[in-house]
């Protein structure tokens, strides 16, 4: 069998994810500065880059800052990369929309990862729009090798046209591993900053003369795209349909319709219209396969090229082979192909849960007990508080939104909400990203909001990265550590309205929340226990349930810890005649890390320490 393999030199290649390939390429391209704020599916780009010596990497406090750091580096002539998830570019867009006017010096690449299919995001967005909006070119790799090659090409194109270049990734590029052949490393010595106010100081008088340059650049880029080897026309014998495809969708098209002509867009903006015309001449019908918005489709139509697209393909999610097969059959008037397989089985859903002993568990247990509150939430692991068993988070919009939304809920309320308190819940990293401005707005405008600032010393959601509150930098080395209590005070919260407490002490937390929500002033309750996934976390002696003592009250289940399991259910009729459901439990002692949360609501004291020699294993811990 080995003899029939096409590539015996394969052993020299690397096996990399798209993210790893981008990182490796940036390093090989002589990138000197790389900055990012974590966000799935882009996070590993910076994590990987940080492992290479010889270049500066940082976690920035948010995406806008990271893009500005990259721009500054570019201004002095260094090659720079900035990475983010799709929503990050919304945050960074203010900088982008003007740096496209100044242009860049050292190559500047913006790697932006769209979560097509929404595996872990609050929305689905097509970042290719930014290319049009900001007049910058867009590369769309279709696999890890292309992610490598295009990252390198993007640095070169950025320098050729002196503008930022977007590398548009999707989840199916970032997290797919494939073989990658790296190339020789380049070195780039920054040329130095050239002072030039007309270039870098964007006041109207300086910016206006630069706008025509931007439009000229568009034309030059369009010519490049028409001639670019990244845009390839694959001939085909089955000419009923010719495809225009980019990104991972290209691979799906090639796999599903190997004999059809395909125009593969690699440098997809500016759109190589003439190449598309060439394809259209060869085929009966053109079908544009793009994730997710009909951008190319609309531009082709505007150029007078008839095509199909979102009228037959879904606008949402990935355009995987099965989706394509069905759509194309419909287009050709053929019966829909049916894959032969076992019927889909109905199995309970398994949504993500908070970790065993997560410090957020105590927060939501407590919030769930409070009545008459509206809880404005934010993005992070603590968003899971909206789910079972707590149902104690009422909104989640965008990073930092909990602050402004809470203030708006306070100021906008009428009779219906007059008796309710407004609580905002936000994580440490989210607070520093975009929440602190909102808190300032609350204090300045005298909002009546109680803020729960969950300092778990990590960006938990994305895997426990560092932030300015952890006291470590991207390399895990000691760094200045922000003091949240002082920061809140500086933002205008009265000192006596700031409390720092342990989220594992349920009665203390309950009392503090009750008190603070009654006082009509801004207040902040900071909780200070670490995420269980980081090394600050120390597991202690685990617990077990004495079966004979468990009365089946189910109180401990309300904590929501995944280590607590129901062994038996029953119903009991109370003297009052009321029927109550009972659930008897056990604790998976090998998973329990002894946080003690579930012990507190257990009235019959059925939860006790397991034998000390019982080993704790981190089933839910990152391996």
């Amino acid at each position: 069998m080995g003899a029939s393999l096409p590539d015996s030199a394969a052993a020299n290649r690397l096996f990399l994810s798209g993210n790893e390939a981008v990182a490796r390429a940036a390093r090989d391209a002589g990138c000197r500065v790389a900055a990012a704020y974590p966000g799935t599916p882009s996070t590993e780009i910076l994590e990987e880059l940080a492992k290479y010596p010889g270049l500066y990497t940082e976690w920035s406090v948010n995406e806008k800052v990271s893009l500005e750091v990259a721009l500054g580096a570019s201004m002095v002539g260094a090659r720079a990369l900035c990475a983010m998830k799709h929503v990050g570019l919304n945050v960074a867009s203010d900088a982008l929309m003007t740096m496209t006017v100044t242009g860049t010096e050292g190559g500047l690449v913006i790697a932006v990862a769209d979560d097509v299919g929404m595996s872990s995001s609050q929305n689905e967005q097509d970042s290719r729009y930014w290319g049009r909006f900001a007049h910058v070119p867009v590369f769309e790799p279709a696999d890890a090798q292309e992610a490598y090659d295009m990252t390198r090409a993007a640095f070169a194109l950025s320098e050729a046209h002196r503008c930022p270049v977007i590398l548009r990734l999707t989840t199916r590029i970032c997290h797919v591993k494939g073989r990658v052949q790296p190339r020789e490393r380049e070195l780039h010595e920054p040329a130095g900053f050239v002072k030039d106010a007309r270039r870098w100081v964007m006041v109207p008088g300086n910016a206006k003369p630069r706008l025509p340059l931007m439009y000229q650049r568009d034309e030059a880029l369009r010519a490049d795209a028409e001639a670019s080897a990244w845009n390839t026309l694959y001939e085909g014998t089955d000419r009923r349909i010719g495809f225009v495809a980019s990104g991972p969708a290209f691979m799906h098209v090639r796999e599903t319709f190997p004999n059809a002509p395909v125009l593969k867009l690699g440098l997809s903006h500016p759109l190589p219209i003439e190449r598309a015309r060439e394809l259209a001449r060869q085929v009966d019908e053109v079908l544009v396969v793009e994730e997710t918005e009909p951008l190319v489709e609309m531009e082709l139509r505007a150029a007078g090229i008839a095509c199909r697209g979102k009228d037959v393909l879904p606008r949402i999610g990935e355009l995987a082979p099965d989706v394509l097969r069905a759509a194309v059959a419909g287009l050709l008037g053929e019966p829909a192909p049916k894959a032969v397989h076992a019927a889909l089985q109905t199995v309970f859903p398994r949504p993500p849960t908070m970790c065993v002993a997560c410090p957020h568990l105590g927060i939501y247990y407590t919030l769930a007990q409070l009545r008459n509150i509206n809880i404005s939430g934010d993005i992070g692991c603590y968003s899971l508080g909206a789910g079972q068993p707590w149902n104690a988070l009422d909104t989640c919009i965008s990073m930092g939104a909990s602050m402004g939304v809470a203030l708006g809920m306070d100021k906008g309320r009428g009779e219906a909400d007059a008796k309710k308190s407004v609580v905002a819940v936000i994580g440490d990293s989210t607070f520093l990203h975009m929440g602190m401005q909102g808190l300032l707005d609350i204090t300045w405008n005298r909002g009546n909001v109680t803020v729960l600032l969950l300092d778990n010393r990590a960006v938990g959601m994305t895997g426990g990265q560092e932030n300015p509150g952890t006291g470590r930098d991207i390399h895990g080395e000691d760094a200045p550590r922000i003091d949240f209590a002082k920061l809140c005070e500086a933002l205008g919260v009265k000192k006596e309205r700031i409390r720092v407490l342990d989220p594992y002490q349920l009665p203390v937390l309950f009392k503090a929340l009750r008190e603070e929500t009654k006082i009509p002033e801004p207040s902040v309750i900071i909780t200070d226990r670490p995420c269980v996934l980081i090394d600050h976390y120390e597991a202690t002696q685990p617990y077990k349930v004495i079966a004979d003592k468990c009365t089946g009250c189910g109180n401990c289940i309300d904590v929501g810890c995944p280590a607590i399991h129901v062994t038996r259910r029953a119903t009991k009729v109370k003297p009052s005649g009321k029927e109550v459901e009972l659930a008897f439990v056990r604790i998976e002692t090998s998973a329990c890390t002894g946080c003690g949360l579930c012990v507190q609501p257990c009235a019959p004291e059925a939860i006790v320490h397991a034998a000390p020699e019982h080993p704790v294993n981190f089933l839910y811990k990152k391996i």
């Binding site: 069998m1 595996s119 076992a342 199995v347 309970f348 398994r350 993500p352 129901v566």
Partner: protein, 206 residues
């Protein structure tokens, strides 16, 4: 074009991705083109994880479509059932009997299936079920479940089992030599668990 499609499923934290990575390394060592993709929405926190592995002379799309998997490797019984429709007719499922019951079931909102294995068999699927979690625990470390599962797959691949074993052991060889022997044992136990069923291997590569 003969491509082997292996779908590995389980829940976040079980080592699904690591196991698939090791399988990928084995295939790579033979010069195959390999693509591996994960669908893991916030998988660190106990959610559903699937890892798709495709290898052959040339692999374009990284995704396995419903009805295309040659092998379904279930690290958790209910998860194997959830993904049963991914198997092609005649494909086999290798399933860990160990159950991980999520809070949503404990709260009482949903039921865990009574017998996921029987349900799989009722679908006409060739199922090999064994308690990899218990075997791992017997060997002293729940994480060895991963290696047990790899052992179970080993005789169903289009290449010799030793290639996979070597890929497993290479992980520890240098950094943690003390783990080599126990992993070898875990691997063999997984192999024996499936061999005991004496089923004919599935023809995967034409």
């Amino acid at each position: 074009m003969t491509i082997t499609n292996i779908l590995v499923c389980g829940i976040g934290g079980q080592g699904v991705m690591t196991a698939t990575e090791i399988l990928a390394e084995a295939a790579l060592s033979l010069g195959y083109d390999v693509k591996k993709t994960e669908v893991a929405g916030m998988s660190q926190r106990g959610g559903v994880v699937t890892s798709h592995l495709r290898f052959g002379p040339q692999v374009l799309s990284p995704q396995i479509m419903p009805g295309d998997a040659d092998l379904l490797v279930g690290f958790e019984a209910a998860e194997a059932l959830r993904w049963a429709h991914m198997l092609k007719p005649g494909g086999a499922a290798l399933v860990n009997l160990g159950r991980l019951v999520p809070p949503i079931v404990n709260i009482g909102l949903y039921d865990y299936p009574d017998d996921p294995i029987a349900q799989l068999r009722a679908l006409g699927i060739e199922v090999h079920a064994f308690d990899a979690s218990a075997m791992a625990q017997e060997l002293g470390n729940i994480r060895l479940g991963n290696t047990v599962m790899l052992g179970a797959i080993a005789d169903r691949l289009p290449f010799p089992a030793d290639v996979l074993l070597n890929a497993v052991l290479a992980r520890f060889g240098v950094r943690k030599p003390q783990l080599v022997e126990v992993n070898r044992e875990a691997f063999e136990r997984g192999r024996r668990a499936v061999a005991a069923a004496e089923a004919p291997p599935v023809a995967m590569v034409g």
